[in-house]
Amino acid sequence: MGSDVWYFDSEILTRYPGKIYRQVKELRGNLLVIDGVEDSAYDEVVYIYSRDGRERAGRVLETKIGEAIVQVLGEREGLETDILVKFTGSTFKIPVSEDIVGRIFNGRFEPIDGLPPVVSGDWREITGAPINPVAREYPHDFIQTGISVIDGMFSLVRGQKLPIFSVSGLPHNIVAAQLARQATVRGEGEEFAVVFAGVGLRSTEANFFIEQFRETGAIERMVAILNLADDPAVERLMTPRIAMTVAEYLAFDLEMHVLVIMSDMTNYCEALREISTARGEIPGRLGYPGYMYSDLASIYERAGIIKGKRGSITLFPILTMPGGDLRHPIPDLTGYITEGQIFLSQELHTRGIYPPVNVLPSLSRLMKAGIGRGKTREDHRYVADQLYDAYSRGVKARDLARIIGEVGLSERMRRFLKFADEFEKVFVNQNPEENRPIEETLDRAWQALATLPEEELVRIPREMIEKYHPKYRG
């Protein structure tokens, strides 16, 4: 084989063990068809060496006797059929150890913070294995984010996966950073470790996060995996999986509570579509592959809590909805997998409300287990329900007022309209630096509800009204 390596020093070629092939039959987008490969493993990792002296990774998408189809990770420019492909014999793994904390890596898990590579004998497959459903602990610990609209109406619990649906230009990154900064489980001193996966981000966006973490000192408890906009698109497929593998290690081996932030998962889905198209697969809606649901689930379902283990993984994927359309396959399939969603709205943003959370399509499915007496406050659930109901009536009144004018509204509808304004002003709107305890959040909710006549509060039991309504609290 020595004669084959005319354009490589032997150091690189011996870095990974494995068999070398050079019969590339076809190059199609990011796919290589390689002849003469007898028995490569499905999903096996390969390294590709080309004349330009670059080394690229790839993985086997399909294998048969005498042929392998390989997906190239990394730049495809400069690839030609005269290349060497080395089959490593194993699937994609990353080394983990306590030393990864505080570090920054690229989408192939190579350090990009100038520090030396991680040395460890403990290698983990990045695809992970499904948590046995009977091993799961149902999440129930309320996380106070200090953001009223989230804590009050979409309470988050440890172990939940809750995406932020946004559109470009909205402050989703600021909201996510505020969340990461302020999130605490009350009564516990322990802070969250943060795993940040930047997927196809511009470097300014990535730097924004890193800076945020640096300022608060959170960087000590952070691992960042950054695939930037000018990094190879196919590596986006690995970035979230590496992040989850790191998170699993931190949560279930080192027993830490981990917050994972992934931004922007839309870029991940675009990369998935690209690969699928290159393979000539039957496209699903808008060209996204039919298996996108299962593929996203194989990432998101890795969040959670395991019985008998101390750590947890809480996940915030951020995605920008193409065309701002909630029915687009990306937000749609995400919503079918995650445990709720926080929906940011252009309209509220334009009106200067921060965080611009559109309350009606937002939801936290695990809220009920985390709130109430002994957890937040006994009136929480009823107040949230009532806010919803009243706000939806208020929004309806506002829409109607646009058609027939406010004077045309019934007296009752005018009251709800007034409530909606008050609600947005005293409850939703807050400062990106402001960290409100849950009691303040609920008291503000009552302040807004107090604009309505008491008998309209049909979703709150009498005794709660008498206890918490400002009128009775003097």
Partner: protein, 592 residues
């Protein structure tokens, strides 16, 4: 079956091509690769066959061995199913956890029924008895709630040459059947190929409602025992919550819940709640009458495809014992997607949205396995399988293949509505788009057990809601204030109906299950209120005057009053009295 060995020629995800093994049959189970992953033959060609593998195939290589087992994909049926949790190919998930830890790794083999557990078998027939398929020969107390009937498996008949009471494992013989000089050992377990419906004597009409305790379903869109219903809706509209409630509170004797490609935490929630929730009818925790199949969204896709058949086969098995079984599948769309993915890998021609042409057949076959039947064998008995399937249409738009074809084969649809869910009106079942073909057949049950005039109230309420929606459309253009009084009254009463009757959000307490009689009384209260108020309006009492009646707000929340029916009856009297006083004040004498 040794020696039936071939080798892998190609791997593409869960689809593996195998050569060197000639005589396999469709549906045969094969062990694939060094790790012996479980697979099933899905296509046969002259010199190769294709298997779909139920586990992750990463790392599997061409040339690795493949062994044919000679068996179809079967379910193990016998005592030891009840109150347990399985994956899509019936591997018990608790045992897997004990064996290999918190993550499901591939290649684990654990039999569905425990082989070392002894059950006490009590014969119900004696030596010398003539038996045939479906006959009950004895009983086992499987859980405190479920008496497991041990039946003669399909295809067997003869005379009992011996049968004994005692403690046995599922694969020890408990009796012997002799026929024509041949002997057949009866065991408490047998196997059944999951893709084949179990036989029965005859279909019976479905006349009894499955009482669910959710007013909008029981009163307006009921499902009969032995019927099939679909619950389609976009994400977050309430499919899972509704189905969980049915699993927990309905009057099913047995519930089999298939978490098919959905969330792990939802399974965790059930497994947390089922052992704690006590069924008031039996005073026992409902886990004792439940089986959970969990093949979550991150577990292998092909096992997701199998999970549906696994579940319905177990349901038929308990049906054959004479039970009313409710089979819940959340979500059938994920199952259809699994079909699509496998079809795609097999290179089959897609027809609609990538789905193969046989999608409608598969859906029909599945729902066909619902029904109320007279079983085979003696003693004579009836049983039923009710199938309830969630459908998750992309973008919440029902105009897509899975929803469209499902609606052709079910008798009821609970159409979930994103708008209602956004307003937190739960269950977000749209009363204008939903339907039930069982409403007429189960009406007799209501008139016999609840009240003669129930059908009339039901129809009036539905009509009122329909008219109200038309008026609302007008009001959204001109404003409510511009409407005449009678129309505003209709809006008011429809509001009371929505809040006080249709909406049912309680997760505990009085309103979590509404008994049929209370459903009727609430409906009667609201409709009688309407009639009286309407008459007042025609006699010139303004609708504003009526809106001021404070009992209106009570009507909206009396459903949650812990005093139950008493509270409704009391409110009924007070409300009617209030209207009578109004009438008096205006000097009105009622016509009726």
């Amino acid at each position: 079956m040794s020696g039936r060995k071939g080798y892998i020629a190609r791997v593409s995800g869960p689809v593996v091509t195998v050569k060197g093994l000639e005589d396999v049959k469709m549906g045969e189970v094969v062990y694939v690769g060094e790790e012996e992953l479980i697979g099933e033959v899905v296509r046969i060609s002259s010199d190769f066959f294709i298997a779909q593998v139920y586990e992750d195939t990463s790392g599997v290589r061409p040339k690795e061995p493949v062994v044919a087992t000679g068996k179809l994909l079967v379910a193990e049926l016998g005592p030891g199913l009840m109150s347990r949790t399985f994956d899509g190919i019936q591997r018990p998930l608790r045992d897997i956890r004990e064996l290999i830890g918190d993550f499901v790794q591939r290649g684990v083999k654990v039999s569905a029924l425990p082989r070392n557990k002894k059950w006490h078998f009590k014969p119900t027939v004696g030596k010398g008895a003539k038996v045939e398929e479906g006959d009950i020969v004895g009983e086992v107390a499987e859980t405190p709630l479920i008496t497991h009937k041990v039946m003669v498996p399909p295809g067997i008949k003869g005379r009992i040459s011996w049968i004994s009471e005692g403690d046995f494992t599922v694969d020890e013989p408990i009796a012997e059947v002799e026929y024509d000089g041949r002997r057949y050992e009866l065991k408490m377990m047998h196997e059944w190929p999951v893709r084949r419906p179990r036989p029965f004597r005859e279909r019976l009409p479905s006349e009894l409602p499955l009482v669910i305790g959710q007013r909008v379903i029981d009163t307006f869109f009921p499902v009969a025992k032995g019927g099939a219903a679909a619950i389609p809706g976009g994400f977050g509209t309430g499919k899972t919550v509704t189905l969980h409630k049915i699993a927990m509170y309905s009057d099913s004797q047995i519930v089999i819940y298939i978490g098919c490609g959905e969330r792990g935490n939802e399974i965790a929630e059930m497994l947390m709640e089922f052992p704690q929730l006590v069924d008031p009818r039996s005073d026992r925790p409902i886990i004792e009458r439940s089986i959970v199949i969990a093949n979550t969204s991150n577990m292998p896709v092909s096992a997701r495809e199998a999970s549906i058949y696994m579940g319905v086969t177990m349901a038929e098995y308990y049906r054959d014992m004479g039970y009313d079984v409710t089979l819940i599948a959340d979500s059938t769309s994920r199952w259809a997607e699994a079909l699509r993915e496998i079809a795609g890998r097999l290179g089959e021609m897609p027809v609609e949205r990538g789905f193969p042409a046989y999608l409608p057949d598969k859906i029909a076959e599945f729902y066909e396995r619902a029904g109320r039947i007279k079983t085979l064998g003696r003693p004579e008995r009836e049983g039923s399988v009710t199938i309830l399937g969630a459908v998750s249409p992309p973008g919440g738009d029902f105009n897509e293949p899975v929803t469209i074809h499902t609606l052709r084969f079910v008798g009821a649809m609970w159409a979930l509505d994103t708008e209602l869910a956004y307003r937190r009106h739960f269950p977000a079942i749209n009363w204008l788009r939903s339907f039930s073909q069982y409403a007429d057949t189960v009406e007799r049950w209501w008139t016999r057990n609840v009240s003669k005039d129930f059908p009339q109230y039901r129809r009036r309420a539905l009509r009122l809601l329909t008219i109200a929606s038309e008026i609302e459309a007008i009001a959204s253009v001109v404003g409510e204030g511009a409407l005449p009084d009678d129309q505003r009254l209709i809006l008011l009463v429809s509001e009371i109906l929505k809040e006080g009757f249709l909406r049912q959000v309680a997760l505990s307490g009085e309103d979590v299950f509404c008994i049929p009689r209370k459903q009727y009384l609430l409906l009667k209260m609201i409709i009688d209120f309407f009639d009286k108020a309407y008459e007042l309006i025609t006699k010139r009492v303004s609708v504003d005057e009526i809106t001021k009646v404070p009992e209106i707000f009570e009507m909206m929340r009396v459903k949650e009053d812990e005093r139950g029916i008493k509270a409704v009856e009391d409110l009924y009297r007070r409300t009617m009295k209030k209207l009578d006083e109004l009438a008096q004040k205006y000097g009105i004498i009622y016509s009726g």
